[in-house]
């Protein structure tokens, strides 16, 4: 399997404070890689680097075989065509209907004719079981529906790589389970690779093939989910036990 993400010796600092230190990990094609850690561990900073929102000042990041530090603006835009992002709060545009939100990348990135875009939107809504929300506005959806609609927008262009930032935030366990199953189902159906940034243990256990554990801006563990669950690293064992207790 090819590496879809390759991070080597990444350092980052904000306002003189070191946020990431010597971070190295990779994610494989067709797998769900979970980047986990407690609050302030550097998960979001890593994600923003992977998405090209923060410049790589020191270290190396390759996404889908392209070195982010060497990408021009045009190259970065081309790379965005191959990425989908599911944001923590959905980030759907409230002034547009669900259908218009999903059609946005199709129309503006893909320049896809209206007649095709309408069918593609219906198809994506069918994939996330939200066919009836075509004409609804995001404010008319529940939290779970909002996440599923945002997921439909994230996969509108059939990207080979999907980033999910805390997809479980604000969801009840049943909605979270249903969203996890949906992500897994889409991964299998569409053959996409998923980078999951989360601290929901149930979600990690259900979906992740590989785990990268961050603590204070450093990678403390990288390996399979089974290895992570049986790890003797105190911080990681603590993370699983404490978070499990909290979630129970």
């Amino acid at each position: 399997m090819d590496k879809v993400i390759d991070v080597q010796r990444l350092y980052a600092e904000i306002d003189g404070n070191e946020i990431l230190s010597d971070v190295s990990f990779y994610a494989l094609e067709g797998e769900v890689t979970a980047i986990i850690g407690g609050s302030g561990s550097g998960k979001t900073t890593v994600l923003k680097h992977l998405l090209g929102l923060y410049p790589v000042s020191r270290g190396y990041i390759s996404v889908l075989g392209r070195n982010l530090a060497e990408l021009t603006e045009k190259g970065q835009r081309a790379l965005y065509l191959e990425m989908g992002v599911l944001y923590q709060d959905g980030a759907l545009l409230n002034s547009m209907t669900v259908a218009e939100n999903i059609a946005l990348p199709l129309r503006h990135q893909g320049n896809i004719p209206e007649v095709l875009a309408a069918d593609i939107v219906r198809m994506k809504l069918r994939l996330v079981n939200l066919e009836d929300t075509y004409y609804l506005y995001p404010s008319q959806l529940s939290g779970g529906m909002l996440k599923r609609a945002a997921l439909a927008r994230a996969i509108a262009m059939d990207p080979p790589l999907l980033f999910c930032d805390e997809p479980g935030a604000g969801l009840d366990p049943a909605s979270l389970k249903s969203l996890d199953n949906l992500i897994l189902n889409l991964k299998n159906l569409l053959g996409i690779s998923v980078i999951l940034v989360t601290h929901e243990v149930s979600s990690i256990v259900r979906t992740a093939n590989r785990i990268v554990y961050l603590d204070n801006g450093r990678v403390l563990f990288e390996g399979s989910t089974d290895q992570a669950l049986n790890s003797q690293i105190p911080q990681l064992a603590d993370f699983f036990s404490v978070t499990r207790k909290k979630q129970n």
């Binding site: 065509l81 545009l93 409230n94 002034s95 199709l106 990135q109 893909g110 320049n111 896809i112 004719p113 007649v115 095709l116 069918d119 593609i120 219906r122 198809m123 994506k124 069918r126 066919e131 009836d132 075509y134 004409y135 506005y137 404010s139 509108a156 262009m157 059939d158 159906l189």
Partner: protein, 379 residues
């Protein structure tokens, strides 16, 4: 005549580099990959060839296809629809991966959801009228009553004040607006005096420039210019602040903490606006008259001593009183309009922009309307 350009190989219908189509014995062979990024160009280009192919294609062969996604599959099914009916043309491929994608992304059988019914003209007018009364008229009166209640009752409950908030708001609404008000009033007083001075000098009535400037600035221009500038600055900022608080659930948080958002957010702004507005109007009057005096000295040779001497005889206590009454009415209108639009925000970021614009437009309109009414009352 020799036609320039690439000569197409026999049967080739389309060649876009990564996608090519060939027509042979009723079969349309599609090679390459149809992915979302190239689907738009493919569909538009092949669309131009449809009239020539219509009725001549029985099979669409995808054996030469190396990749396809949901957009590509949708484009293929739409292409088949353009070339003939479903029963007439078959889509075939030996490749299992392509077959799987065709099944998964087939747009056949997709249910079209009907848009919500719009209702008859009478229903829509009724709905709009109800919305106008329920949201605007009732909402505005309700908020005004709420603000009035809290602003009066809080005068007697000083311990409930947010420490420093009154001063903070007074600086934001009043002090920070003073420079622009001084500058604009001076400029308007100057221009007013220059233009009217040239007319007065033709009648030898130069000295009346003082009367004209003082009366115009004190009774109309000073208060109105001040109110328009404060409405433009503060009404928009109040609306945007409250709207953002509503969108980010900060107002809900205040409510659930047992704090009334009107009392907590609006009342300090109202106090600050009521307090600073008279000073701003005095500042505007002084600047406007100074502008007029400058113009009188430069164009009509009326010295500052003569100007001030005559000014003392024209000015009346009534002018100061009406200026004060106007300042209080304008202040209340500006804060009420800004907060009303802030509380009425809907639909996130776009809604914040919309209510901010509305707050400025409506508060300036109300200020001018109130000025006209008071102008007639205090004539």
């Amino acid at each position: 005549m020799v036609r320039k350009g690439k000569i197409k190989p026999p049967g080739e219908v389309l060649n876009l580099g990564n996608i090519s189509c060939r027509h042979e014995d009723g079969t349309l062979f599609i090679n390459g990959s149809i992915l979302a990024s190239g689907t738009g160009i493919f569909y538009r280009s092949i669309g131009k060839e449809v009239p020539a192919l219509k009725g001549r294609v029985r099979t669409i062969n995808l054996d030469g296809l190396t990749g396809i996604d949901s957009a590509g599959v949708t484009a293929l099914y739409h292409l088949r629809g353009l070339l003939g009916s479903e029963g007439d043309i078959t889509i075939e491929t030996e490749k299992t991966s392509i077959k799987k994608k065709l099944d998964l992304f087939s747009p056949l059988g997709l249910e079209k959801v009907s848009p919500p019914p719009e209702g008859s003209l009478a229903e829509r007018i009724g709905e709009k009228a109800h919305w106008l009364f329920a949201n605007y008229l009732y909402g505005f009166i309700n908020l005004a009553a709420n603000i009035f209640y809290w602003s009066v009752s809080d005068i007697f409950k000083r311990r409930t004040f947010r420490e420093g908030e009154f001063v903070n708001q007074s600086i934001k609404i009043g002090v920070n607006a003073s420079m622009i008000i001084v500058f604009m009033s001076f400029a308007i007083g100057l221009v007013l005096a220059v233009h009217s001075g040239s007319q007065l000098s033709t009648f030898g009535a130069n000295i009346y420039i003082v009367d004209l400037t003082v009366i115009a600035v004190m009774s109309q221009m000073g208060p109105l210019i001040t109110a328009i500038l404060v409405a433009g600055r503060s009404s928009s900022s109040i609306a945007a602040e409250i709207a953002t608080m509503k969108v980010t659930s900060e107002l809900d948080a205040l409510n659930t903490m047992g704090l009334d958002p009107v009392r907590f957010v609006v009342v300090p702004k109202l106090y600050a606006c009521l307090f600073t507005m008279p000073f701003l109007i005095i500042l505007a009057n002084v600047s406007g008259i100074a502008g007029g005096a400058t113009a009188a000295y430069l164009t009509l040779d009326i010295s500052p001593e003569i100007f001030i001497n005559r000014m003392g005889r024209i000015m009346q206590n009534k002018d100061l009183l009406t200026g004060f009454v106007k300042s209080q009415v304008y202040a209340a209108l500006i804060v009420l309009t800004g907060s009303f639009y802030g509380f009425s925000v809907e639909r996130g970021a776009e809604g914040v922009g919309r209510v901010t614009t509305l707050a400025v437009v409506v508060s300036i309109s109300l200020v001018i309307l109130a000025d006209s009414v008071m102008g007639l009352l205090f004539y």
